[in-house]
Symmetry: C2
Subunit: 336 residues, 2 copies
Amino acid sequence: MVTLAEVAQHAGVSASTVSYVLSGKRSISATTRQRVERSIRELGYHPNAGARALASSRSNIIALMVPLRTDMYVPVMMEIAIAVATTARTHGYDVLLLTGEEGPDAVRRVAGSGLADGMILMDVELDDERLPLLRESAQPAVLIGLPADTTGLTCVDLDFKATGALCVEHLAGLGHRDVAVIGEAPAVYERHTGFAERTLDGLRSRARETGLRLLHRPCEGGYDATAVTVARILDERPDTTGFVVQNEAAVEPLLALLRQQGRAVPEDVSVIAVCPEQVAVQASVRLTSVSLPAQEMGRHAVEQLVAKLDGRGGDEVVLLPPELTVRASSGPAPVL
Amino acid sequence: MVTLAEVAQHAGVSASTVSYVLSGKRSISATTRQRVERSIRELGYHPNAGARALASSRSNIIALMVPLRTDMYVPVMMEIAIAVATTARTHGYDVLLLTGEEGPDAVRRVAGSGLADGMILMDVELDDERLPLLRESAQPAVLIGLPADTTGLTCVDLDFKATGALCVEHLAGLGHRDVAVIGEAPAVYERHTGFAERTLDGLRSRARETGLRLLHRPCEGGYDATAVTVARILDERPDTTGFVVQNEAAVEPLLALLRQQGRAVPEDVSVIAVCPEQVAVQASVRLTSVSLPAQEMGRHAVEQLVAKLDGRGGDEVVLLPPELTVRASSGPAPVL
DNA sequence: CCAGACAGTCGAAGCGCTTCGACAGGAGAG
DNA sequence: CTCTCCTGTCGAAGCGCTTCGACTGTCTGG
């Protein structure tokens, strides 16, 4: 292992000079800098992370807490995680992967040990048990998701309320009057994960404004459960001509069912999904959808956190505006 | 921040004693231990990770390199990653998430800086560019996947060759004579990711032994691509009564196409998938499948690595035996 | 009853880096 | 031409922990 001291000796300067070359915290003459940089290259020097962390009390590590339970669609989590890792690297940070298993203890452990400089929490619940700890430990953190009380917290999320409104607007604009919402699994609502409820909120309030009739049903997803849900919906509201789906596992089953019943999409029935773009594009009918901007969320979260760590920027709630992409699954309501 | 010294003072012992209580590397009397533990609790002491890493040259961190490009089915990666993180914690390690983006440089960086004690590489290609570096840096590592040359390396993977053989055996046993294989995207084969080729190898050699006719076609996945692939297959081999699918994105399209053509599963056509259990169970027909033991792979990888770090166990290639679960998509070949 | 072994504790020396204050020398101002 | 102010560099003091050797008693066996 090559050390700072060896580099210094090789370059004929003091250790502190090498350190300053590396950090740029003091001005160094061009010639000295070059000599040092050359020595670094020749010796293949890599600063020791532990020593650095100890001396500077900065680990250059960001902790990312991903939920263990994964009601949330897994590829989205992964996409966020990758975006976080990639963005973090561009700012000189590495990412520590924490699973939800440890729960709040992980927050304590990471904050206490100085393992990470800050953390990003995914899948935050409305009343998340990690939040009090976070507030009291003064650990710089960014949440992906929106808890009930955001005071003193920095959050990034899709504006799900606007998303709901956008879906209703689109369908209302096409003349639909009866719309059904196939939602996430009941457990998601019971856990108060927020995003599902916020979407519903947006759907409902805009439906009220536009006079659109809305029927919401949670759904486990998968073929059997979706079949039951759709049957109930059509039984209760036979005139339903529009579906909003917020559940990746119900998308394909729904399309299969409609096909099976001879209801053409989009001629007889329009379908809008709130899902990752990939799901919308790869479905058997290319779906009109509001996509989940996973990458953007990850990127934003890191940038907010880095800003905090640099002493810039404070607590802020960033809600990304939803974008609805019209594809082949939505069209004018059929004339009855 | 509470330090070791403060705990020592509070407990009325020396710093080294506290350290030994924590590490258990020397015997400590029960009374002293209790006094120290009490102080630790009362003061809310957490050892500083950086200082520990510096003094002991052990970071208690495992680096996990996940590929950026994700031909491999994403949920599987995530499942492995979570299993790695969870298992690592039970051994006292945290997990650093590295994306493939940095490529081989990441190996250099991590090995050089002492950031991690060892690493786990996912999605290893047959001739992976990270391997030479790994070998020369003497960085303890475990691969998930099987490169062409495994000398000096520890690997964990599903036995894909046996998997292929198992699929053929099952279909041959049911009397099928003409079987088509819908494979991964062409890019996967071109990249020589190994697992696809090894499966094919197993399929082919067992097919030869049992006199079964095998037709293999790569497939991009998605509805359109799968439709083309299936049409070609049936055109070329109209008597095909069995499908082996190794491509999550082709599973549902294939089932939809068969349904559409009036071919009943499993009465007219049998389908076996090589995919995560979840995909097999949630498909529109419950699929007979060989599942990808993601969790087990993650767990194994960590345990191998921890063993290495503890100086136990050496280089080893662990191939997990495949298990075929019969569900509703396979049955006796139709009598012509 | 004493030598040797051993359990239990302490002090001190680092681990490799950052950072603060000090200082030499040159430039600019008066 | 002197005084001040930078710029560029160095030395030394830690950061909080681990670990080695040393020391003190207490046992045990001969």
